[in-house]
Amino acid sequence: MKEKMSIKILNWQTDRGQAIRLRSGQATLELTVALILIVILLMAGVKVFLWLNEGLVHRQVSYENTRVAAGNTSPETVSLDAYLDNVEPQDLVIRGANGGTEVDFNEPFNATFNIFATSN
């Protein structure tokens, strides 16, 4: 009875004898626990890998989507706001997986295209 209980708790108690006795099912139980943990870790690793890869894919799509707008010579002038502090460059920011395929690239309503404007 005592031995059965020991197996139940994975036999963590110390043997008093010189030799360690083989208990039936011991390795199987430990392997089961270990495999569960290994599979969880592996799945976490795969998930991280997939998440990072998705970012690359989504970003590539939005990168290509902005090609024409960024390279277009119309309108003729692109003004740069020089010497401004604390300006948030929200425009032309290419997003990754978190933002899906959304691209913060807003065509302005006014004539001058300002890629650094905080709002359009």
Binding site: L10, A70, T77, P89
Partner: protein
């Protein structure tokens, strides 16, 4: 007993001849999982860290290229350069609460359109420069960020007066013919007043000796830019004052079939400072950064010590060979001037920085007869201090500002700016376990 210990040392794998099957010991698999699991967690951390950094880097690179492309799409400009610097938090499972560390992400890009390859900048806007977007704060929990934008010109218009026609070849050799223009009517700062060096309609002035000189020439000088490079300026200055050095550079730059006589071109004396006159003449407006130049110092024997084996340009290096400290674009002496004791060997945003790391982590545990509740909080802030060095020397039309004193040292107007970036975030977790 000994045998058992020996086996345990090898985590229970049986050695030698025998059954060939490992025996199981209590907790054997879990001990192995603990050992290898730790390695696996580290591996996971490395994967996460590398992947995130690669993602942030790629995002920054793509964004900055698009910005450069948009800047260059301006039909009057045709070129564009941009840079992004941001500090991102990279989680690390091996640190407490997985907070990790802050990594700087830097990306830059420049674009030049084909049809503008040989076009010359004509105004302040079209002068080469770079747009720097620098993150000044980022709060991962609040999802807020702040940025600072600076635009610096890497060249400016510098004007020289009364340049004899035959001297133009040396200017072409040093600065490049595509960066020169000749005054042709109008005022100096009027962009329509300048003509190509191949144009015969340039304004000429009759000199006292009866020869003719160009009234003014405009040079697009990289040493007059708001951000300049010591090596480039040194090379340029030395070509002006050392004909042998000029000749070597000229021979190296010669294309196949070129009939340029490098020796005779390099022996031409430009407006001072030049190989014979070291004094800057504000009426002629020469390359002020080469003024008061000092040649290689001879060996002193005994003992055989060479004081300074190289050419020294005080307004570039910050010192004279006699130990005098002068205002300069760069400083190798430990002080640029008495009032600005900063050793500054490069311009632009310096990559070296100081980083203050603050981590506040707390855990509270409350145990009642019915339940155990825990509350864990972590607040962290990384403050990164960088130095941004630039000149403040260009007027609204892109011309180098001329000091009223006419002294070369007064052209120097270096600014050192401290750029602070705060990266912060917080984590919180509560758990209740019913007894």
């Amino acid at each position: 007993m000994t045998k058992v210990k020996f086996k345990n040392l090898y985590l229970g794998f049986r050695l030698g001849f025998g059954s060939g099957i490992s025996r199981s010991y209590k907790g054997q698999a879990l001990v192995e999982l603990a050992v290898f699991g730790a390695f696996f967690l580290i591996l996971l951390g490395v994967l996460l860290s590398y992947g995130l950094k690669y993602n942030f880097q790629q995002k920054a690179q793509m964004t900055v290229f698009r910005r450069a492309l948009k800047i260059a799409s301006d039909q009057g400009r045709g070129i564009g350069a941009a840079m992004i610097l941001e500090d991102r938090a990279i989680p690390d499972p091996t640190t407490m609460f997985g907070i990790g560390f802050t990594a700087p992400i830097v990306a830059s890009a420049s674009v030049q359109r084909d049809h503008m390859m040989h076009a010359q900048p004509v105004d302040e806007d079209s002068l080469s420069g770079t747009v720097m977007d620098i993150q000044t704060s980022r709060d991962g929990s609040e999802e807020t960020q702040a940025w600072m934008r600076r635009i610096y010109k890497t060249a400016a218009f510098r004007v020289e007066y009364l340049v004899p026609k035959e001297n133009l070849d040396k200017y072409r050799e040093i600065f490049g013919s595509s960066l020169l223009a000749l005054k042709s009517g109008g005022s100096i700062e009027d962009q329509g007043s300048w003509a190509s060096t191949s144009d015969d309609e340039a304004d000429m002035t009759l000199l006292e000796n009866g020869s003719k000189a160009y009234t003014a020439i405009r040079i697009i000088d990289t040493c007059s830019g708001e951000i300049s490079d010591y090596d480039t300026c040194y090379t340029q200055a030395r070509q002006l004052v050392d004909p042998e050095f000029c000749k070597r550079k000229c021979e190296l730059a010669k294309g196949p079939g070129s009939d340029t006589d490098c020796a005779s071109v390099c022996n031409i004396e430009t407006n001072p400072p030049n190989q014979t006159d070291r004094i800057y003449d504000d009426l002629k407006g020469g390359a002020w950064y080469a003024a008061d130049w000092e040649g290689p110092q001879p060996s002193v024997a005994p003992p055989a010590v060479q004081v300074n084996p190289n050419y020294n340009f005080p307004y570039l290096s910050g010192y004279k060979n006699d130990g005098t400290i002068v205002p300069a674009l760069f400083s190798f002496s430990g002080a640029r001037s008495a009032g600005d004791p900063v050793k500054q060997m490069a311009m632009g945003l310096h990559s070296d920085m100081t980083q203050n790391v603050v981590r506040n982590e707390s855990m509270a545990k409350t145990e009642t007869t019915g339940a155990i509740s825990t509350q864990e909080d972590a607040v962290w802030t990384d403050t990164l201090n960088r130095t941004l060095v630039h000149q403040d020397n260009i007027n609204a039309n892109g011309f180098e500002k001329i000091p009223a004193s006419g002294q070369p040292g007064d052209f120097v107007n270096v600014r050192t700016r401290n750029v602070v970036s705060d990266v912060s975030g917080s984590l919180s977790q509560a758990q209740v376990t019913v007894k």
